[in-house]
Amino acid sequence: MSVIQVKDLKKSFQSVEIIKGINFTLQEGRCIALLGPNGAGKTTTLRMLSGLMKPSSGSVNFSGLEKETDIRQFIGYLPQHPIFYEWMTGREFLEYVGKLAGMSKADVKKRTDELLELVGIADAKNRRIGKYSGGMKQRLGIAQAIIHRPKLVMLDEPVSALDPIGRREVLELLEKLKEETTVLFSTHILNDAEEVCDDILFLHKGKLVESGTMEELREKYQQAKIDLVFRDDMEGILKSFSEKGLLQSYLIEGGKASVMVENIEEARRAIVEEVMKENLPLVKFEINRTSLEDVFMKVVQS
């Protein structure tokens, strides 16, 4: 079942189009990464979904809700740099936000204790937020985003400001969140997305360049690749391979030729045969697969 449908969403600031018409649907219970390099429009997209910003055009629809319903009770949102009332304690802040979301007093108390435990700041619950470290604020931010048990939780770069340990812990926290609700989080690090997510939305320069489940994308982009090293005349040999139609494309880099092929089995046989027939000075022959990372880099650099 889908949670939210986004149709032809656009956003301009002073006639510069930041988001150039994106479409996607988020399925319930999934963890979705909004992936893209800095400046791709991730924050703007999340802000529009959360209602903090109004789209220039297009629509954001929650499934099963009337158009006029206040969607805010169904979403949780954590901004990239969360700011709190520093004069409140962590517990006070969670209780305040929970009550604002319409939870009963007893429920708020119970849920606050539960979340403080879950995100691992129970020890600091009675300390003023002003004295919290960056990582603690990030956890508090996640807790406040999910306190009212939203159907969709949106987190803007929840791990990018953290040190490796904090990052690991927050990623594990996201794993736990997945069991409770639908999670959409933005990141510019593919690794983070691969680690916890089921689906990927790949945003680049305000456009959705790719989307799908992790498996789909891996399959799609796991193009067969063969690395070859010849003792000499690499250029000449590969050129002739190319002319004979043995390969799609190649790239010589650092004394190594990376060869893209359609079918890895056929290519292997053809190349080996050719090497035997022509007695070519083959030094290394290695079958590889391109990763999402390569695709990500390619899109980002283009």
Binding site: R47, S50, G51, L52, M53, K54, D70, R72, Q73, I75, G76, Y77, L78, P79, H81, P82, I83, F84, Y85, W87, Y96, V97, K99, L100, A101, G102, G141, Q144, H148
Partner: protein, 259 residues
């Protein structure tokens, strides 16, 4: 309504934690008693400053008691207004500028509750502070000069309080417009000054302007009766407060909370 009280209670707690509940009333008391005391001790002060030949007898007519209470109101018209603008200018703009509004307002918080709770919180602080301040002034006028009937004091208190409430509401209104507390403060002060200057110089044309309230309060204190324009002025000021509040809510709804 439950949500409104949650927001309002948060304002109260915040004003306690940042000591506004301590320093604003004290500031209003000190501003209030300044004139009664300096007026009373004026001969001694002049004497100690010196420069006058030995034996000079300083003859100064003692001003009537209502005039001295009115001097305190005159001080509130400057410093009181300034303090009100300064403590109100960041109430909403500050939260938006820092970004905390982005966390609070993605929760299902009604914009009108958010604004009116802040308005009511500020108003309570201002009325309490202004009350203890003017009460202190009235007390000092009483013991140093002559007692003004308490009923007169109460009437003057409520009348002039309308103007202070108006100033506060103007500041709340600009809070909905601008993200920077400094800009809010500047716009509010500028509005109050322009309104006062224009109302002062064109007083025959603008006799219903809320900026006349201070003058009318003084008139009441010395003559025991309000001018005829007092009623429409009051209505206009109260109407203006309601109008500005509604305007603030409408503007705020249209604003993008994050930019």
């Amino acid at each position: 309504m439950r949500q409104w009280f949650i927001l309002f209670n948060k304002e109260m707690l915040e004003m306690a934690r940042n000591f506004k509940w301590v320093w604003v009333p004290i500031a209003f008391i000190l501003i209030g008693v300044m004139d009664p005391i300096t007026t009373y001790y004026m001969p001694q002060i002049l004497d100690s400053v010196g420069g006058l030949p030995e034996g000079t007898v300083i003859e100064m007519p003692t001003p009537p008691a209502p005039d001295i209470l009115m001097m305190s109101i005159g001080q509130y018209n400057m410093f009181g207004v300034l303090i009100i603008v300064l403590i109100t200018m960041g109430l909403i703009a500050g939260e938006r500028k820092s970004g905390v509004a982005g966390i609070i307002l993605v929760k299902p918080v009604s914009f009108s509750s958010y604004i009116t709770a802040k308005w009511a919180g500020g108003l309570l602080l201002v009325w309490v502070s202004y009350f203890v301040g003017l009460l202190a002034s009235w007390y000092y006028v009483g013991i140093l000069f002559k007692w003004i009937p308490f009923g007169d004091f109460i009437q003057a208190f409520f009348t002039y309080g309308i103007w202070l409430s108006f100033v506060l509401t103007v500041t709340i209104f600009f809070n909905a417009f601008f993200r920077s507390p400094g800009v809010v403060g500047f716009a509010s002060i500028a509005t109050v000054i322009v309104l006062s200057l224009v109302s002062g110089s064109l007083s025959h044309l603008l006799e219903w302007s809320p900026a006349q309230i201070a003058g009318y309060t003084g008139e009441f204190l010395s003559t025991h009766s309000f001018p005829e324009a007092m009623l429409p002025t009051t209505l206009l000021a109260v109407g203006g407060i309601v109008f500005l509040l509604i305007g603030a809510i409408l503007v705020f709804r249209k604003k993008e909370l994050a930019a």
